[in-house]
């Protein structure tokens, strides 16, 4: 299944950095997302776009994950030649990630 089947996301920019926050529709799937959507998998998913490190922040009070992708925007909104210099599409692009279905473990 795809991440989009159980979660939603929003992305934004600051300079050359993109953040993507991800939330499950069902709070009970938070731990499953923590196990499935690691910083390493996000880095791999965006390997053609992101040159810097990917950091994951866990926010259990919101049942949310926040990914920070550095050197991700070809220099940032004012310098990038890309068609999406704000990185607004990153959130939806992350929802394309293939994940395991939540099972008995959730």
């Amino acid at each position: 299944m795809r991440l989009r089947d159980i979660a939603y996301a929003r992305s934004g920019d600051k300079g050359d950095t993109v953040n993507i926050c991800v939330f499950p529709y069902n709070d009970g799937h938070y731990d499953h997302l923590r196990r499935q959507v690691t910083a390493e998998r996000v880095r791999e998913h965006f390997r053609d776009l992101v040159r810097g490190p990917v950091t994951r922040y866990e926010v259990p009070a919101l049942c949310g994950l926040n990914f920070v992708l550095e050197q991700a925007l070809d220099g940032g909104v004012s310098m990038s030649l890309r068609i999406d210099p704000h990185g607004k599409a990153f959130g939806s692009q992350l929802l394309d990630l293939e994940i395991e279905a939540p099972g008995a473990d959730t």
């Binding site: 939603y8 600051k14 922040y57 009070a61 919101l62 940032g76 030649l81 394309d96 293939e98």
Partner: protein
């Protein structure tokens, strides 16, 4: 929430220059006490500065409209606060005064925050540019502008001096909200937890319809009613909490989902969100439903504000060109790739000076290839594709040559159509961090 009546009702009138101000009028007429207008993004201010240099008009171009949609608030004695001074606060102040007089509101007290424009100081200083490399002094005449983010303290001074309208340049987005919240609830600016909660309100509202259904719906999995007429957000602030809502009868929605996605929008470490006013911790905030289109938020935790202010430095990079042309039918991707090759060869043969150039096929991979896991299917071949060529060139003539090379593709591979191009100054924006004591700020309060 103990009190039935909020201590303050505050709305976001706009999230950027170009936002739909008609939505703000609906909020103003719904009885809010304060309207805040964020009009600046990282790039907007550098563009305003370029306008200031070329035509002496660096202030916001819609000040009369901002005040017109806020009229109901002003006539009730409420307040309007915004960074619509942009790159010329003095001219923005005189536009504000003129607009108020034209509305029959002569005598209104107006506050102006001066000092965010540190362009001259930056030219004389050796401020490090950690993302761009080097220092401001190294830039020489490529340094177009430098603006420091100004916090709530100066806005609060203007409010305490009786200002009903407060205008500034690079006033920090959340600070526009922090000052009137602290003024209305008598919260001290060094009560870091409360300033963090006010900052949370500002952060949630500063992007306008982002928290009421904008940048959110994704049919069929995630929908909200009437996204064609979203409401602007309103925060009801109580002594012991905050409710985010929107005007009755507007479209979209305020849900736990819209609030959570906005709470972490453009945030890095959620436990350490740095503004000129506070280092806010959003990681322990509670977000709970409180009725239809009503969400309870907060409180946040805070630590002392930073000693440094962020400065955005505008750098002249030359000229930017974007040019596009379409191909359709079977084989369109191969023809578009050939077209890209033709453009690159023509520019090389003509020795056109180009600093950076990229070409993308819109509809194929222009947003970048992502995924590629074992379960990903190769996409079906599209039946239409648009070639987009973007470049930064040292001179305007070179940028125009790039646009022409794309236009010539009408005589390139078969069936090219719909060429458009745009050539504009390329102004890059990059941060510096300076001690707040070097930024020479000043508050001016006058009667319209």
């Amino acid at each position: 929430m103990s009190a039935a009546t909020p201590r303050l009702r505050i709305a976001a009138g706009s999230a950027y220059a170009g936002d739909d101000l008609r939505r703000a009028r609906v909020a103003a007429e719904s009885g809010v006490d304060v309207m805040c207008f964020d009009r600046l993004a990282e790039r907007t201010l550098a563009m305003a500065h370029a306008r200031q240099v070329s035509a002496g008009r660096g202030q916001d171009e819609e000040i009369d409209e901002i005040l017109a949609v806020s009229e109901a608030v002003l006539r009730r004695g409420g307040r309007v606060i915004g960074n619509f001074g942009a790159a010329n606060v003095a001219a923005g102040l005189s536009d504000t005064v003129a607009a108020l007089r034209a509305m029959g509101l002569a005598g209104t007290t107006v506050g102006a925050i001066h000092g965010d424009d540190v362009t001259d100081l930056a030219r004389r200083s050796d401020w490090e540019l950690p993302e761009f490399g080097g220092t401001t002094a190294d830039l020489g005449d490529r340094l177009v502008a430098a603006h420091a983010y100004i916090g709530a303290d100066l806005i609060l001074s203007a409010l305490h001096a009786g200002a009903q309208v407060v205008i500034g340049g690079r006033l920090a987005d959340p600070s526009l909200f922090v000052a009137p919240i602290c003024a209305a609830l008598d919260w001290a600016l060094d009560d870091w937890d409360r300033v963090a909660t006010a900052t949370c309100v500002g952060h949630l509202l500063e992007c306008g319809a982002h928290v009421t259904g904008g940048n959110f719906v994704d049919p069929p999995v995630r929908t909200l009613p009437d996204p064609h007429r979203l409401g602007v957000p309103i925060a009801e602030v109580y002594d012991d909490g905050v409710i985010v809502t929107k005007p009755a009868g507007t479209g979209g929605g305020v849900t736990v989902g819209t609030v959570k996605t906005q709470l972490l929008y453009e945030i890095h470490d959620p436990s350490s969100y740095v503004t000129p006013d506070v280092v806010a911790d959003f990681s322990t905030i509670r977000v709970e439903p409180a009725g239809p289109d009503r969400v309870r938020v907060g409180p946040a935790k805070g630590k002392a504000r930073p000693d440094q202010l962020k400065v955005l430095v505008g750098v002249n990079l030359g000229w930017r060109v974007v040019a596009e042309i379409s191909f359709g039918g079977l084989g369109c991707v191969d023809r578009a790739r050939l077209a890209e090759d033709i453009v690159r060869r023509q520019l090389a043969d003509g020795a056109v000076p180009v600093d950076r150039l990229r070409a993308d096929l819109i509809g194929v991979d222009s947003l970048g290839r992502v995924g590629g896991g074992p379960n990903d299917r190769p996409p079906a071949e599209p039946r239409e594709v648009r070639l987009r060529v973007a470049a930064i060139c040292p001179q305007r003539d070179a940028a125009r040559e790039v646009a022409r090379a794309v236009d010539y593709l009408y005589l390139g591979p078969a069936g090219a159509g719909g060429a458009v191009s745009r050539v504009e100054p390329a102004i890059g924006v990059t941060p510096a961090y300076v001690d707040r004591t070097v930024v020479p700020t000043d508050v001016e309060v006058i009667k319209a």
